[in-house]
């Protein structure tokens, strides 16, 4: 089972907490919006990825398993 980070771009309000928690997978553009690395999240980052999704104020960031 793999997990990937997904963002709902309409819900996102650029609080930027996700990029602080998980810079390995999330960068910010010039306007403060997250650029998500869509590749599967490796096991060692799963904990941080879960936290990043959990702290998202607008529930825009999700960790999806497929």
């Amino acid at each position: 089972m793999t997990a990937r980070l997904r963002i709902d771009p309409i819900a996102c309000e650029a609080h930027g907490l996700c990029a602080e928690l998980l810079p390995e997978r999330i960068a910010l553009d010039d306007w403060g919006y997250p650029i998500i690395d869509g590749r599967p999240v490796p096991d060692e980052l799963l904990g941080l990825a879960k936290r990043a999704a959990a702290v998202c104020h607008t529930l825009a960031l999700r960790l999806e398993r497929d």
Binding site: D8, P9, I10, A11, C12, E13, A14, D29, D30, W31, G32, Y33, I35
Partner: protein, 388 residues
């Protein structure tokens, strides 16, 4: 070039009993290879198949035509309303829908009147209604239409695509072709066009030509043939293909006009001719400014990214851009792409990138501070939504 006469010649008139209806039509449309004529070029048969699995499907005939340089759907609505309604009714029968909606821009009074009159002249087994949609570039995007039909604003949505919830959103030209395929068959349909993109298509030719207007072409027609038919006023510097979210190609490009497998796609069917005397950077700056203004302002990268790109490109067009502007524009294009709920930002940066290639010399000259001409060829509407 004398184009084929299918959609524009009165082909397909007559009672619907002669047409193939019901689920069998889905298979025939799949075999015809028909692709959507709204821009994306998605295989129509596959969409019909997906929607048919839904419990209560609804057919949406999209005649909004948000693309400012396009006039083909307005022509079809005004001149062949019965044909596209036939297509909507037949598609409804194929997927098991009891209702079909014909969506027309609120700015297109003539199109709405033609559809209303046509609906008054016919009795169909499915209920067909006319639905007015606000005039706005992104309103004709299919998730925006779906949202508006639900009573919301005509703005794109994130989440599952409309076909996944049983909404068959098809461009009105696509449905007109469905009506012809139902009558004449898939083999007949494939007598024109390419194996990957069969049939004929409507294109709107504009810009510096002596005979602007809507042409019907066989898909795969070489661009030079269409240009000869439209009669360029001057040496052709470049051609805008697809629409404002499309691609600039050099005036001597020998590409085939198709929506599938081409380096530059026909998109919404726009072919706009830029003469030697005009400036491609200035035209592109005007379009990007318009597209930034037409952003639904829902997604950050589109709201702020397109505005930043348009601002910098406008400076460039005036010869007043800061150093390293071209590199900055390329970086922003990469940052914005694929990050909206809809493809609006992707189209905008596609146009930008093609401009930086096709007008590379002009871009360098502008970056050194030489001033351009302003936009003189494209009919870019005034941006209306900055304050909204």
């Amino acid at each position: 070039m004398s184009g084929p006469r299918r959609l524009l010649a009165g082909l397909g008139e007559g009672p619907l009993q002669d047409a193939l209806g019901g689920p069998a039509l889905i298979d025939r449309v799949i075999r015809s290879g028909l692709r959507g004529r709204g821009g994306g070029g998605f295989p129509t048969g596959r969409k019909l198949e997906a929607v048919a699995r839904h419990r209560r499907p609804v057919v949406v005939a999209n005649g909004c035509e948000g693309e400012p340089e396009s006039a083909k759907d307005a022509l079809l609505l005004a001149r062949r309303p019965h044909l596209l309604i036939d297509g909507a009714v037949l598609a409804a029968g194929a997927v098991g829908a009891r209702e079909a909606l014909v969506c027309v821009s609120a700015a297109n009074a003539a199109g709405a009147a033609a559809v209303r009159a046509a609906l008054g002249e016919r009795r169909d087994r499915v209920a067909v209604h006319l639905h007015a949609v606000p005039e706005r570039y992104v309103a004709s995007e299919e998730s925006a239409l779906a949202r508006h039909l639900d009573g919301g604003p005509a703005l794109p949505a994130s989440g599952p695509r409309p076909y996944a919830r049983g909404l068959l959103v098809q461009n009105v030209e696509t449905l007109a072709h469905v009506a012809l395929v139902a009558r004449h068959g898939s083999r007949w349909f494939r007598e024109l066009g390419t194996p990957g993109d069969p049939g004929s298509a409507l294109v709107t030719v504009g810009g510096a030509v002596r005979r602007p207007g809507v042409f019907e072409i066989a898909l795969g027609t070489p661009l030079p043939d269409l240009l000869v038919a439209a009669g360029p006023e001057d040496r052709v510097r470049a051609v805008l293909l697809g629409g404002y979210g499309g691609t600039w190609v050099p005036g001597d490009a020998r590409l085939a006009l198709t929506r599938h497998g081409a380096s530059a796609a026909l998109g919404a069917g726009v072919v706009c001719v830029l003469p030697e005397r005009a400036c491609g950077i200035c035209e592109t700056a005007a379009v990007l400014d318009y597209l930034a203004g037409e952003s639904a302002r829902q997604c950050g990268p589109c709201t702020f990214g397109l505005r930043a790109i348009a601002g910098r490109l406008t400076q460039l067009s005036h010869g007043r851009a800061p150093a390293r502007t071209l590199g900055q524009l390329r970086r922003w294009a990469a940052d914005v792409e694929g990050r909206g709920a809809c493809r609006h930002p992707d189209g905008a940066v596609r146009l930008l990138r093609s401009a930086l290639v096709t007008f590379a010399e002009e871009a360098d000259r502008h970056e050194r501070g030489e001033c351009g001409h302003g936009s003189t060829v494209l009919r870019v509407p005034a941006t209306r939504r900055e304050a909204a």
